[in-house]
């Protein structure tokens, strides 16, 4: 009897003991009200003690790129700006682009009190030229002839040949060559093995602590935050601490946000709905349906291997476009929540004005030749309104204003015209069997295997599922092949159709499209079996002589000094890509971000997009001065 009582008392005490501490989930001594807690996109940090992101993949979104380091320049796709951070102004090229001058901002310091000067920039570039294995050794060794300073705030980089886009290696867009603290790295024998722990910051926060198991990293606002580009440009970051937390499973992430233990997170669309349903303090980027961030600088879609028959035929590619009912497609792929794009660019604000609107007239007049003198105009500006109607029928609250509808669902897409697709295919020797299925010109059954990422939440997978359904309806034997070998197959050209990014992500700001177009220059195209250099867009293994000329013209055009020429070249290039349709852009990537307003408010939502909205992008530090404590 006494034994039994002892056991029961022990159990009760154990439960009370375990339940005793408050579950603020913060390291000791931190005030929750002073701390912003954000979700880490790349989940857990694998090597918690290593902050040397110059030597390889070191989970930069644990706060290294968003809080600890400032780049020379950075793009903001929400505002369309190219921001000079460590640099005082945009890069200056000489007339033949063989020399680039960097003017540094004055009065900026490393977190250990050492000024950030031209010596740091020279050292960083020079070390990268000399050190194979550093992530940016390739381009630095490839292009840099000499680097030197002319004064403490001016660096001159002499290039081995003309290169008007050399600055892009220092232009942050979820990664770039960021400047190293010379006074730390010059003492290091092996910059690859060096862990850079504790790290020194150029950004407004310093490392405070981290979890040795890799689940969180805690950053503290610098006392001298005003001596950083963030402080100078935008003022004091409001949270004293920022805790970056990694979750391996979505369930815990959702529960954490509902428990007010996570202020900013990125979920799957389904997860976002769950959070919005369960919490009355959580909001999304848009306060109403479709909630998701639809200004992401990334376009999703379908990629053909243009070196494989019959996808080497432009008319076949176009037939496959016209076989897609984009309204049904969007319902399958993303529950009608994303903006479609007829061109190979994401519909970010800067591009709407610079490219989408100027191209609309041309798109309406663009024709396909069906043979026998028959022409067909494939563009359908009514698509956004058709999607809006489908959304209404599903009971979603859709705005009435046409401009708002276009902002939500895109400017238009291509017509669903299976009859025209049929004409194009028959013109090229294809035939339909009695079973209604398409046969190739040699009479064999047309089977399409769509190689995709195996992650069912990924846009690659969503696109693959939707397009397979649409093509099956049209009579093509289409199947999805989700595989972990996806990247290897795509890079090496061992596929027919895939849902790799149909175009390389552009900068998302400014008007320079070189990042998107370069992978389609003929010099980048390699035979099947050889690895392409750039997977997104480039794995299509397509080029065009006219496009080559435009890309080469772009290379001798200063994107900062000659904006209009750069923009017009971009428009001409986009027309060629649309005509040829080497890949099919479908819809802009959408991020399902959720923000809890229990502790912090004034996030950059759709109604006030003062900066890009993701907590994992390097621009996150520029959001922090605008956050406000919630009034309880």
């Amino acid at each position: 009897m006494r034994q039994k009582s002892l056991i029961i008392v022990s159990l009760v005490l154990a439960v009370i003991f375990l339940a005793s501490a408050a579950f603020a989930q913060l390291p000791a001594g931190l005030s929750r009200g002073e701390t912003l807690i954000v979700d880490q996109l790349s989940r857990r940090v694998r090597i918690p003690g290593n902050f040397n992101l110059w030597s390889g993949w070191k989970t930069p979104d644990r706060g290294i790129q968003q809080l600890m380091l400032e780049p020379l320049w950075i793009v903001d796709y929400a505002t369309g700006e190219v921001i000079s951070a460590l640099a005082a102004e945009l890069p200056i090229y000489n007339s033949d682009f063989t020399q680039m001058t960097i003017k540094l901002r004055e009065g900026i310091y490393w977190s250990d009190g050492v000024p950030i000067t031209a010596d740091d920039v020279v050292f960083t570039i020079d070390l990268h030229v000399r050190t194979p294995g550093l992530l940016y050794h390739g381009p630095m060794a490839e292009f840099v002839d000499k680097v030197y300073k002319t004064d403490d705030h001016t660096v001159v980089v002499e290039l081995k040949g003309p290169n008007s886009r050399f600055h892009t290696h220092f232009l942050d867009r979820w990664g770039c060559l960021r400047i190293m603290p010379k006074h730390v790295f010059e003492k290091i024998e092996d910059p690859l093995a060096f862990e850079f722990n504790p790290p020194v910051s150029s950004g407004p926060y310093v490392l405070y602590d981290y979890d040795p198991a890799g689940f969180w990293t805690l950053w503290e606002r610098r006392e001298d935050w005003e001596r950083t580009p963030t402080g100078i440009l935008y003022g004091e970051p409001k949270p004293k601490y920022v805790l970056v937390r990694g979750f391996e499973g979505e369930e815990a992430r959702i529960l954490a946000q509902v428990r007010h233990e996570l202020d900013m997170a990125q979920h799957t669309p389904e997860g976002l709905r769950a959070v919005l349903e369960k919490s009355n303090t959580v909001r999304a980027w848009r306060k109403e349906w479709p909630w998701v961030v639809n200004i992401d600088p990334c376009i999703t879609g379908i990629m053909f291997n243009n070196m494989v028959e019959p996808y080497d035929n432009r008319e076949v590619r176009w037939a496959l476009v016209l076989a897609i009912n984009i309204v049904d497609y969007m319902a399958i792929a993303f529950d009608l929540m994303a903006p479609v794009s007829p061109i190979h660019l994401p519909p970010v604000p800067a591009y709407r004005e610079a490219f989408f609107e100027p191209l609309e007239g041309w798109l309406k007049e663009f024709e396909l030749d069906l043979g026998n003198g028959e022409k067909f105009k494939p563009y359908d500006p009514e698509v956004p309104f058709k999607i809006a109607q489908a959304a209404k029928e599903r009971g979603f609250p859709v705005p009435e204003d046409p401009e708002a509808i276009k902002e939500l669902f895109g400017i238009g897409w291509w017509k669903y015209a299976p009859d025209v697709a049929e004409k194009l295919l028959k013109k090229n020797g294809f035939s339909r069997g009695e079973d209604g299925k398409w046969r190739l010109p040699d009479g064999s059954l047309w089977k399409v295997t769509i190689v995709s990422s195996p992650d069912p939440t990924h846009h690659h997978f969503r696109n693959a599922t939707a397009v397979a359904e649409e093509w099956r309806k049209f009579g093509i034997d289409a199947e999805v092949l989700p595989t972990e070998n996806y990247n290897t197959l795509v890079f090496n050209g061992e596929f027919e159709v895939t849902t790799q990014w149909p175009a390389a992500e552009p900068w998302g700001a400014g008007v320079d499209l070189s990042r998107t177009l370069d992978p389609w220059h003929s010099r980048s195209v390699v035979p099947i079996g050889e690895t392409v250099a750039v997977g997104p867009g480039g794995a299509a293994r397509w080029s065009n002589p006219e496009l080559d000329k435009i890309i080469e013209k772009m290379e001798i055009t200063d994107p900062f000094a000659d904006i209009e020429t750069t923009r017009l070249l971009g428009i001409e290039a986009l027309k060629i890509v649309v005509k040829e349709m080497p890949t099919i852009p479908t819809y802009g990537y959408c991020g399902a971000v959720a923000w809890d307003e229990y502790y912090w408010t004034n996030y950059p939502g759709a109604e006030n997009p003062y900066t890009q909205p993701y907590q994992h992008w390097p621009n996150f530090k520029y959001m922090l001065p605008f956050l406000e404590k919630a009034k309880k």
Binding site: L18, P132, P139, F143, C176, A213, A252, T488, F491, E505
Partner: protein
């Protein structure tokens, strides 16, 4: 001498052969799967938005192949691998370059071993003790009720059960945390640390103990019921041997043999971790490390984790073989 020749030596030879074949298979399979770790790394860099010139990518590819030790023929790589393995050096992780695999193992192995070994031993003890009692008194109503409850619990997948516990004890009734340990890099071994570890390990451990224990319970119950029906037990009962003696001297030793074997084999799985549990409870461990290394073609990391697993399982089996004569008089007799 006869024991050495006919029992020990064949088993030692078998041990060496299994280890050799296992490690060779682990070397070959990822390479034959067709995944290129260098391309995986480059894809990661490109997808995450970094700008890389086509020309720069070519030189980066070459550099990475060199640094990863992927230059040369498959046979040369194979020889290099054996040289490394014999020194217990698995080289750098490709995806976490240049961090040595051994560093990653050092970070994550203690967590996995702590959770997995503890919960496995608890589940094994509880399952076997309760299973043995329920098996011996199988005709009692409480035994039948327990059996029904276990039959209901056991088929629940770890994932569903874990999420259920998470919703119950971390959301509805907020006793336990959602994961992510809350002590920092300057770990001080004190009561607070112990409590933190216990708190964070409790729900994952409970999942493993309940589901694992249920399996042991069912197996043990069946084994005891079978042994109970054996002639020698019936004979002992009719001879008036006391129930306690009957259970502990006659029934349990016979029923325990397959359970001991299975326990030893389970320890080998510790190194591959408990993937689902780690995901649901945000628990640090080897499961996710192995999963990520497989999906990204990180050959060296796959090799490091699986070699540990192979060595543990084969060593456990060898030790069992050597201990069996002590446990089973029939083997001793042979």
């Amino acid at each position: 001498m006869r024991f050495l020749r006919s029992y020990l030596l064949p088993r030692l030879i078998q041990y060496v052969l299994v280890v050799f074949s296992g490690i060779t298979a682990v070397f070959l399979i990822p390479r034959l799967a067709g995944q290129d770790p260098v391309l995986e790394m480059i894809a990661q860099i490109q997808v995450q938005g970094s700008t890389l010139d086509p020309t720069a990518v070519k030189s980066l590819t070459e550099t990475l192949r060199e640094l990863y030790g992927l230059k040369g023929t498959m046979f040369e790589q194979y020889l290099t691998m054996w040289k490394r393995v014999l020194h217990f050096d698995f080289g750098p992780s490709f995806f976490q370059f240049p961090t040595p695999v051994s560093d990653l193992l050092r970070i994550y192995l203690p967590w996995t071993l702590g959770l997995f070994l503890t919960s496995t031993v608890i589940a094994w003890l509880l399952g076997n003790i309760v299973g043995a009692i329920a098996g011996y008194f199988s005709h009692r109503s409480w035994s039948k009720a327990l059996d029904t409850a276990i039959m209901f619990v056991r088929p629940i997948p770890h994932y569903i059960f874990g999420v259920l516990l998470l919703i119950l004890f971390a959301y509805a009734w907020r006793i336990f945390p959602l994961g992510g340990l809350v002590f920092g890099r300057r770990v001080v071994f004190n009561l607070a640390l112990v409590v933190a570890v216990l708190k964070h390990s409790f729900l994952p451990a409970l999942t493993l103990v309940i589901l694992g224990g249920a399996a042991w319970f069912q197996q043990m119950k069946l084994l005891v019921q079978n042994v109970k029906r054996e002639d020698f037990v019936q004979y002992a009962q009719s001879g008036g041997i006391r129930e306690k003696t009957l259970i502990f001297r006659y029934i349990l030793p016979n029923a325990m043999l397959p359970q001991v074997t299975q326990l030893a084999l389970q320890f080998g799985q510790a190194f591959s971790g408990t993937l689902i549990i780690e995901m649901v409870f945000s628990y640090p461990g080897m499961g996710l490390l192995l999963y990520r290394s497989v999906t990204r073609g990180d050959y060296n990391l796959v090799m490091g984790i699986t070699v540990l697993s192979i060595l543990t399982i084969t060593t456990a089996v060898l030790l069992l073989d050597l201990l069996y004569p002590l446990l089973d008089p029939r083997i001793r007799h042979r």
